[in-house]
Subunit: 396 residues, 2 copies
């Protein structure tokens, strides 16, 4: 059989019938180059947002199982329309949804994880057909329940399929690759030709919207090189792979707004309590981000959450901490988290020094670091200044 490529097209690439026809042409061109294609699609344009909005008109907190039943229709619409467009121009193909393609996941509605991919049906179809179109984002449990992989999960569908089929993986969107920082906000952002899995993981978890982080984890685990390119331009994109051939020290910068810093002062020096606090917060489904713990006789704990979860955190904490004396809880909102990421930081000394030099004069509220990342929290009014200083210092 011919070599197989797994392609994925994002929502803005399939937003209307004209774009679907163009994507069909792009696929047909690739098939003429003697490949067989497995094409994963997201829902058209704002479909998922609109379906969520519709469900919220009925229930503020829609039943998770039913929400997945609802949202998975979006990808079935785009997959079948793309198959119609391909059939129309003579490309033999069929669309498959998650149950037909047997994309088995865990039963965690709204955030399921792929457990197993039986690609036999896809391979069988490709003996006759030139392409198979697969609904991204969705899966199915062994009991036949329909699940979704979380927002952006179509990337994960594509990479998992590429891993299962030992195929190349190409992810197309309206952004022509991976940039040092968001090109829509900082027009001077540089496109990276290469980026490692670890750098990409840090970038993804920092809110860079290029790739779903789970997709990068799978690519790393199975050694799949991901090509990220533009759907509608021929501009060369970026490769996410094991080694960064160019190896710059710092390869990217990302910004997340709407951060709230929660600071608990004068806690008793009891690490069981620390465990209880974070366990409670996790149980409430809250994602705690930057964490700093300092003990000086008592304990001071500081962490960040996204702003609209503040009331939720406050409620969770008050349940755990009720009755404690002298305890002080501060909430400071309107912060931004700015991070730099680079695999080169591991081996390059002085990055932290350069980082703090760049930020001199900006009041930094909290700093956390990993082997390949430094993040700081600043008031939003300092954001612009901090970002510019870091872009200049690290030539991003």
């Amino acid at each position: 059989m011919k070599n197989i490529i797994v392609q994925k097209y994002g929502g803005s690439s399939v937003a209307d019938s004209e774009k679907l026809k163009k994507v069909a042409q792009k696929i047909a061109k690739r098939i003429k180059q003697q490949f067989k294609l497995v094409v994963v699609v997201s829902a058209m344009g704002k479909t998922t947002d609109n379906l969520i909005k519709l469900s919220k008109e009925i229930s503020i907190n829609p039943a998770p199982r039913e929400l997945d039943m609802l949202l998975t229709t979006g990808e079935q619409v785009s997959a079948s329309l793309l198959a119609i467009a391909l059939n129309e121009i003579g490309v033999k193909c069929k669309s498959l949804n998650a149950f037909q393609a047997e994309i088995l996941t865990t039963g965690d509605f709204n955030q399921a994880r792929i457990k197993n991919l039986k690609v036999k049906k896809i391979k069988d179809l490709l003996k006759e057909d030139d392409a198979v179109i697969i609904t991204g984002f969705q899966g199915i449990t062994e009991e036949g329940e329909i699940t979704t992989l979380g927002r952006g999960g179509s990337d994960t569908s594509a990479v998992a399929l590429a891993a299962a089929m030992s195929a190349k993986c190409e992810i197309y969107s309206d952004v022509a690759g991976i940039f040092t920082t968001d090109p829509r906000i900082h027009p001077g952002a540089k496109k990276l030709k290469y980026i490692t899995y670890d750098e990409m993981l840090e970038m993804s978890s920092l809110g860079a919207k290029v790739l779903h982080s789970r997709s990068v984890e799978i690519a790393k685990k199975f050694g799949i090189t991901i090509y990220c390119g533009s759907t509608f331009s021929e501009e060369e994109g970026s490769y996410v792979m094991k080694k960064n051939i160019e190896q710059p020290v710092v390869s990217g910068l990302s910004v997340m707004d709407n951060q709230t810093q929660v600071t608990l002062s004068n806690l008793p020096l009891d690490y069981t309590l620390v465990h209880q606090i974070f366990e409670k917060v996790a149980k409430e489904g809250l994602n705690v981000d930057m964490i700093s713990i300092i003990s000086n006789g008592g304990l001071n704990i500081s962490f960040t959450v996204i702003e609209d979860k503040k009331a939720h955190v406050s409620k969770a904490l008050s349940q755990i901490l009720k009755g404690m004396k002298d305890l002080n809880i501060d909430y400071n909102s309107g912060y931004s988290k700015i991070s730099i990421v680079g695999i080169g930081m591991k081996s390059s000394s002085g990055v932290a020094a350069k980082y703090f030099k760049a930020l001199a004069g900006i009041p930094v509220k909290l700093v956390t670091t990993s082997e390949i990342k430094i993040s700081c929290l600043v008031e939003e009014k300092y954001k612009e200044k901090a970002v510019k200083a870091l872009i200049n210092t690290f030539e991003l």
Copy 2:
């Protein structure tokens, strides 16, 4: 277990979130009366039309398999939203699509027929839950291909489920029952309290949009009484059942516009040719309706098709009839077909006489009859007059 009722709600009953909430209230009320419910839903409002329109932007003749993949999303949206609405008001329920409910059909895309319904899963769910919401209109083949039952097929889904579960069947729409003729066109139309399967079948096939004719066939086969009522009013509806308790001679009138009469004159007296003509026309997917054949030396054949298929018919005929001399083909458009239906016609004499007396003075182009139906074709300008005359004569 409590008694089970199968309900079906049409597209206009679930057209938006407010209506879905009202339908949920109606279902909850029925559950309080100690029933368990299986609820079949159509797609919301104009969803199916809009999806077809979208597919036609891409292909004039979309691949039938992919069209079914596309259209089935409509019912999955309404089913999951209704389940969300029910969960929101404390009704325990889950939605199931055709593959989850195992609604097995033939593989005829766009017009599949139900072969088998495994209702074990539905029954299992109803041990715990109060209701199960099922996507109407759709099925699945044994190979896992997604099919649809044809426009209006949700009625068939509901009646087949009722038959499989030995349950009562209630069909709700924006019309409060079955009328002697279309109440939107003839405000004086009378609502029938009872109508037999055979009468309903004739009415359905004549374009009365109350019930999908296949659903009536299944109801007849399994002796399921169908109640047709209004979703949003408490007005008493109509029962489709074996015997018409009231037994009027003529129970309904229906009108179909956009008829074209095709007349072939001076054909050789060759019945193989007749067979070939109608076989060719059927192969082209054309529905021929009223047929009249008269032999007077040669053969004269006259039949009707709907107007927008005229070019299609013309093409099919020219392939069969090329090279024949003296042959004359006439196309006359802009006709309406008016039919009266009634189980009482079987045993009541003089119906035809009354019928033609009512139509005295109106040029009738073609007449066909069955045991319980008389249809005639008239120019559209005479339609109003003919309908009024028949309504008065038969007190419809």
